[in-house]
Subunit: 294 residues, 4 copies
């Protein structure tokens, strides 16, 4: 059975709100009443007393596409109106539409393209946008549109306008796969979809530029990478995933960069995969991650 | 708040049976009807179509001890009679009563004694039994009774009888912490409680005796340990947990044994911790493990 | 400084023989006498008393290419004739010439092609040979020749003859990147260069076919991959590298295969990288691996 | 053969100085001239051109104890006078004499005591000193002297004087096993032996107090521990070893502390083991670690 078929008639319900007794049973029952069979359920309370509640439920419902509107309406009544819970209802078979921004380094981009081709990521890459032309051929070789939007000094506004024209309305997700420009707060606001970045250090260690240089200088024994949602506060967005590998006195800065590339691409691909499976829920400046396989 | 208090009024419901639509909502509702608030819920279906269903639910219910009998009765009606599900209802504050069997090597035993003293394991070690006297002082230093039951050649039956007299009725769990004798099928049957063993290899590689010697000979690059439930088929019982560490050509057999000791004790302690938190459910010759932190 | 330049005038000396006092100083001095500066040195004695000795030395010698013959002669005299040691002398700038055999699964192949393009592997892939045509375009996209040699039932001899015609004299290494055919002993003998394979299990567990199916059935909690030199005894050749990842009851056989693909390609690429850097020395049915970075 | 016997007649030579051609051969020959057989050799150049050179050599020399003075003299001539290298010559059978400072948390202390009893650490714990009395019984149970030196507010000078009286001349190493007081620069100077600390975060992330609280707040997905040499600059000393474990949104601060305890003790014990085997050489604000097994 193909992955596509496995996801047929499979839905996801992601709920959040104030915690209170009976909330798991209440959400479960709301689905059961509609004939949905719960396949998987994860929940989290940030604090047993007066905390925030998060639940991700996967369910099977025959003819889900046909019955989607009706189901959404019923849940709005039962969860939203009666219980003041926020929720998202998703058809698993609908891939997220994503754009990838990249500069010159290809390792994170290629890992995404390759995993997407293998069917490991529930997303459709609508386009790749770069401030440099070098990676155009590699991207188009995967059958994906590539657009070059140079960012000239002092003309970032113009570049962001061009980027916005490409993205607006076309994507549900923006992935920064070693894109070496900072996006303005205005751009993030207008875009209005989640933006996932990969930072080449184990945050909060070595925020800012040159993390491998500074890791070498400090003599750390592990180097890492961090994938996080982008906010206006640089390197401060909610962390989705992190991992590390061993380093030693033998590694030059170039060695750290080369070896770090492996952990960067693995961490970014994991974060994107979990996001696309609706496993990541923001909770203020942190995340709740109902992990899939690593 | 102490761990003990955290577990006050906390219950666990472990359910298994034939999978079918609506089963998660049905179990959740059965608890909610009794006023229980679900704190955590894990479930697994061995096969979406016609498989086995497993669910572990932690819930909070005021005055759980007082209402335990009443709750059990209600669940028997709702789950057992109406839906043909097997279930276990557990008060989290009740520690499992355990015996530990050991021979001469102390590393697994000490890790258990030490973690238990730190409050990391939801068990009470009722006694340690060894076929050798050497570890008596160390055990009694923890305030735990130690019994020496020698196993003389050809007189294993007599030894098992003595062991049974010590255990019968007194324990909910038997842990073999590098106990170098094979327990008979008759003994296991009569005892009637789960028995957890640690095997000093990554099963199914190197079953039987001398795994480190054979790992050295074969030139493997990782050595491991396996904790499993004991069945009559030696080294074939359901696996609970495994882990590995790196080995190299530099390691002698003695090095492998010494370093393997670290992974043996970690794997056994994890398996015991998860068992005592009712996170492990047997499924034929395998297990479903709703993992806690590693 | 580019990697290529870093390897200019860099040589390697790999020595093996019977261990005896003074052997490290003796090899070091033989190099120093010729004006070579030792950059890195690893040695291993299989047994302090009467064991086998292994040493890998990297050195810098101005005009190494010009002086190669002279150096080899001097070492033959000092190490070979006087001390009965076997040795190999290698110029680091000379890449190993490799062929890759593959069937239909592309993950191991692509990882090798990609790392080679990034300059991470000291090898030149002279050709890719497959018993199926599917991967031709992907390979040629990297500018590497692709040959399809079908292996028809009962006509393996003919296929091996065709394969030998392609390889003979053209390669220093053959890599089996998920090649699903068994090479005959005669073929291995005639080829006369090392052959590296990736086996999709943590050997010696699950030798033979269907390892993921059997891992699922046995309920193991880690799955692994093993890279080894190929010998006539299937799955028994000297192990170069192994690694594992976590599995759980939630993983179907297909999940294990998909996730195992990640560990397979990492393990194979590491084994190939270390081999090409002359870090792997065979010692009977095992290996001595002077590890580079993982 | 016991570990003690294995280390009989085994010596170590740790050399550092300005790098230059021929230096490895030169040190090797100096040992060989004295009849020493090199068992193991590690070296490192911080920079191929004009960097610092580090070499650790283990050798076997019959009657090492008797010939120690003579050997030291010869090496002083050959390495020190002629080549301006610094070196340390050590008999492997001589354990480092260590003191351990601890406050109330016992996990790091117990791991050291236990591994020392098992013969895993080449050190003799001469005494344990605490600013609190609670751990006295546990320490004395291992047959090791315990001294309580309270540190009253505003009277740290007096406490440091008492501590100095206990340590001075009696130890080669001081280990801070979760000692919650800062040692003054004057104390460190006067003591004049290396001081190893364990910090409960992955430095340089979360320097200072309350690292687990801040890790929870920042939402990191891994928590770590760092062992380093103590300098006057708090949390800035040369790092010896680091490791991490996974954390998630489910972990409370108390969970992080409890689980972090496992990685703290493992990291500290590794750092101490490597230091006692003379595997750690300081290089300015970093270290060169010729790693033993992890």
């Amino acid at each position: 059975m193909s992955q596509q078929n496995q996801r047929h008639d499979l839905g996801r319900l992601v709920v959040r709100g104030a915690d209170r007794p009976g909330i798991v049973a209440s959400v479960s029952s709301a689905l059961a009443e509609q004939g949905a069979n719960i396949v998987s359920l994860d929940q989290h309370s940030s604090d047993p007393a007066g905390g925030r509640f998060f639940q991700r439920t996967e369910f099977h419902l025959p003819d889900l596409s046909l019955r989607f509107g009706e189901l959404e309406e019923a849940l709005t009544q039962r969860l939203g109106t009666e219980q003041e819970l926020e929720f998202e209802l998703i058809e698993a078979k609908r891939n997220k539409r994503a754009a990838v921004f990249v500069s010159r380094k290809d390792h994170c981009l290629l890992d995404l393209l390759w995993r997407q081709r293998r069917g490991e990521l529930a997303m459709t890459i609508a386009m790749v946008v770069s401030n440099h032309p070098e990676l155009g051929d590699a991207v188009r070789g995967f059958g994906i549109p590539f657009f070059c939007v140079p960012v000239e000094k002092g003309r970032k506004d113009a570049a962001e306008k061009d980027q916005m024209n490409l993205l607006k309305g076309n994507v549900d997700l923006l992935v920064l796969a070693r894109y070496m420009q900072i996006l303005s707060g205005g751009f993030l606001d207008e875009l209005g979809v989640p933006v996932i970045n990969i930072h080449h250090s184990f945050l909060p260690a070595f925020t800012g530029a040159g993390p491998y240089e500074r890791a070498k200088e400090r003599g750390v024994k592990l180097i890492g990478a961090t994938s996080h949602y982008v906010t206006e506060d640089l390197d401060e967005g909610p962390i989705i995933e992190q991992d590390v590998i061993r380093a030693s006195h033998r590694d030059s800065v170039e060695d750290l960069q080369r070896r770090g590339a492996d952990v960067e691409r693995i961490v970014l691909s994991r974060a994107v995969a979990w996001h696309c499976d609706d496993r990541v829920v923001r909770n203020g400046s942190t995340t709740v991650v109902f992990e899939g396989p690593r």
